[in-house]
């Protein structure tokens, strides 16, 4: 981490505080996946969780030891030790050390009320807990970030005691002092006033050294981002937040809003400009991983953030973008959407297809055909951002370059709850009729669910012709209901990710029937894998495994 003078250290807590959002749950694999993406984005710190608070977080830190991050510092989070124990004997700290991170974030109580009513201990014991925990972890060769929980409320109620907790953390060896607006109720002018005081106090206690202050805000007053920016303007150099503002209640400071504001408008440096231009993609990938619909109206990264309607408006923005756009959408990897003009669409297609090594011009018939087909499919719910293999197949189709490995003629799927008594689950059976080399293959298979049964039947039909299929396996299966207000009559989009152990690729299927949507995505996934094995190696719309 080498940073210029106007550097702001971005501390991502999506994997810990973000997962407190109601309705959000992540698997171990999801956490690793998100950490890898955050590392690539270039944030300074990634808080992985509270090792020991649950088995998943402890396992996460173990797994991360075998696949270390390239850029970011991985941080483990914990509280101060329990009252009337010592840090050295508190079992809570054992998994924290076992996480083997260079950095540990310790949170402690700043608000006297929380010490007496929450922890039910004395103000003096709370100071001892802060001191002992930080000093012990420092003695174990860790670097320390101190999260001052309920800082602003605590300061307002008892400023002397609140400042004493920070002084204790400083003297015990913490390097960063993060002021938390835990309940999210503080307004920007109070943030400014209080940070000024903290800044001066820390500087005085530390013999004039510039203090390293962080800010951690929540959005209960709709001001998490404003509060974080205000803190930076008053001397904070670390901002804690989450991707897409995920977090308890109304969420945390949204890093997808904080970073562009700091970097594009206020002259600070959080990540490299070319990393910032990946922000929109990252935001959508994370929402995809946690399976929450992306917020189309999110600042900067939302699909509607640069959408323009109306004639005069559109011609003005095309003549001079600053008339209606506060920043250049490309700087954060978003793009202008003009509802009525398909001109922007054509250049998008050309840019995308260039990725496959294909050069198209606007005048080419295939170019217009691809655009029209894409728009038609998007209209019915397709989304190619997370299904690039399906998009490549569509492009090759338009160019007459899509070999026909097989065709699915029909399928039948059957589920019976009666199998439950025998096998413990509701087994499904599927039959599928596939045409390969002009010959029909009718196969049947059984699986734990209807989609598993269909996948197996399809493979059975194809394996004799294409033995490579044995190497392809499904690594992810995601379902999204598109017009959910229609209940069970809604359109379903299925996204499937395949792997052959070396590369991964993704396909999509859309239908008002989930089995039908899955069948489409599986069919294209197997087709794309064959395309790779037989002709193209490595393909261009795959990702390294």
């Amino acid at each position: 981490m080498s940073h210029p003078n106007n550097a702001i250290y971005i501390y991502d807590t999506t994997l810990r505080d973000g997962t407190q959002r109601e309705g959000l749950s992540v698997s171990l694999e999801d956490k690793i996946h998100i950490a890898t993406k955050l590392d690539r984005l270039g944030v300074a710190f990634i808080e992985g969780g509270w090792a020991g608070a649950n088995p998943k977080d402890a396992e996460f830190f173990q797994r991360m030891q075998t696949q270390p991050l390239h850029h970011a510092e991985l941080v483990v989070f914990c509280s101060t030790r329990r009252a009337h124990l010592t840090a050295a004997t508190d079992p809570m700290l054992v998994p924290i050390l076992a996480a083997k991170t260079k950095w540990v974030t310790v949170f402690g109580k700043s608000w006297d009320l929380h010490v007496t009513e929450g922890l039910r201990t004395t103000l003096a014991e709370n100071l001892a807990m802060i001191q002992d925990t930080i000093a012990y972890l420092k003695g174990c060769d860790r670097r320390l970030i101190y999260d001052a929980e309920h800082w602003f409320d605590g300061y307002k109620h008892n400023p002397e005691y609140a400042l004493l907790t920070l002084k204790t953390a400083l003297e015990a060896g913490a390097e960063w002092f993060v002021l938390c607006d835990t309940n999210g109720g503080t307004l920007p002018h109070d943030i400014a006033r209080i940070i000024n005081i903290v800044y001066e106090s820390l500087k005085t206690w530390h013999g004039g050294k510039i203090p390293q202050i962080g800010i951690h805000t929540h959005n209960d007053s709709g001001l998490a981002v404003a509060n974080a920016l205000t803190a930076v303007q008053h001397g904070a150099t670390m901002v804690q937040g989450t991707i897409n503002g995920y977090g308890e209640r109304c969420g945390n400071a949204n890093l997808c809003t904080v970073m562009p504001n700091l970097q594009l408008k206020m002259g600070y440096r959080c990540i490299e400009p070319e990393q910032l231009s990946q922000l929109t993609e990252l935001s959508r990938q994370v929402s995809e991983i946690v399976n929450l619909a992306p917020d189309d109206h999110a600042p900067f990264v939302g699909a509607s953030a640069f959408a323009h309607k109306g004639g005069i408006h559109v011609s003005a923005v095309q003549r001079n973008p600053i008339t209606y756009e506060h920043i250049a959408p490309e700087s954060i990897g978003n793009h202008r959407r003009i509802v009525i003009s398909d001109q922007a669409g054509l250049s998008n297609i050309i840019a995308k297809v260039e990725n496959f090594g294909i050069c198209l011009r606007k005048e080419d018939g295939a170019c217009r055909q691809i655009l029209q087909k894409t728009k038609e499919l998007e209209q019915i719910g397709y989304q190619f951002e997370s299904a690039e293999a399906s998009f490549e197949l569509l492009v090759r189709e338009a160019l007459g370059d899509r070999p026909k490995f097989f065709a699915i003629k029909n399928f039948y799927v059957y589920c019976s709850s009666d199998t439950k008594h025998l096998t413990g689950s509701v087994n499904s059976q599927a039959t599928v009729k596939v045409v390969v080399n002009d010959v029909e293959q009718l196969t049947a298979a059984e699986g734990s669910g209807p989609v598993a049964a269909l996948d197996l039947a399809l493979r059975k039909a194809l394996i004799n012709f294409y033995p490579e299929i044995a190497n392809f396996y499904l690594t992810d299966y995601k379902v999204r209901i598109l017009n959910s207000e229609l209940g069970t009559h809604a359109t379903t989009r299925v996204l499937i990710e395949f792997s052959n152990g070396k590369r991964r690729w993704s396909t999509a299927g859309v239908s008002d029937n989930i089995i039908d949507a899955s069948c489409k995505a599986i069919g294209e996934g197997l087709e794309y894998g064959l395309l790779s094995a037989v002709r193209y190696s490595p393909m261009l719309t795959t990702k390294p495994f």
Copy 2:
């Protein structure tokens, strides 16, 4: 409108700027419905639309003449007259006068670039357009609000010209001067600096009279609310915004966030306290009218805004609410929710069950039984935070208070892709065997997908016994694959939301077979609806519709 000295005039533009949101459309009846509700909430001004811009808006103002508002001033919106016409001869102003409102809001260009590049006229002609339009409408006995479009960007590029447009509006007779951050790119410190200058300029031009300044902000930088609050702190006394922050691109300042901040935290008065306590209900009613899902994570009014999880946390908030709540949820008509999550302990269960009017103690066997069952189900993938009805059924089961309306004995589901040629979609058939009053009912139904077919078959079996079932409908259907790395063999969690038109409730089902998981959730949803209809009304784990 009589207001005390710390009064802030709330100007609602949900019906005009709010409807610019992508995906939002309202009928004439919807607009009247919303206007009536806003009037009851107590806002000072309601902007109804641009009469003449479309037939719906003209008709709206006609209809409102026959059913006038009780409290709020209805406002019609329009631009300055066209270049090189006179206001008296510009046909655009005919429907504006026909709207017969006391107040008219005229918007004009503040930014020189928009005059020359957008309107393609001269800077002098733009001033004449502002002067002529305002003076003409004033001559027709209207009171005038002047919206200075692109104010902040205009001021930054050419402060002299921007100020000249305001001075022109003042001299022509406008009473309010609304500074618009049309592109949403301005930061709070620039808002503060520029409003200070406007305040002093207007005061000087008007012989020392306190100026009436309004603020109109957009959320492109995630700062619409912060910017509005900053403007008020620097002298603005009118705030324009929309309910739920609806609006073009990333939306307008959310009045459901602005009003509680101003009134509960900053000492201003927007509406009466008893009106403010209707805010949560209003927010949800408006989202219902415009048919957009309410944002559960919205500040103040979201269903998750006062949701608590975690053991220590829950007991602390019950002992002393200010430990974890920045305001009293009742002040805006919201309420505290204790969430059941995998961190649940006995005290969580007790607090949660209290919501159902059931008093449990830690020593009770049922209490421990509920906790154990909850943990078991969470282990296999259940999640009760979004399925509170399923949780209530579990609690009633443990307490021996769950009437048996019906039991699903078995089901069969069948999908065939061959129907596609005939009906355009992959139809599904389901048969289900249900036991009601010890008698078996075997029914079959057809639907667009397997889950729809199953839902219909189940209703067919139950409708003769429980006709209330006809009033229950599915409003949301969510699917989450839990261990997605297992591909199609993964566990599936289905969350379903039902409504009876008055209340909403949610259930969950988990299985390695998506049909089985859906069947469980649908069964519990219908059961819970019956529980409500037959015995408890209104139930406690429902949300207002």
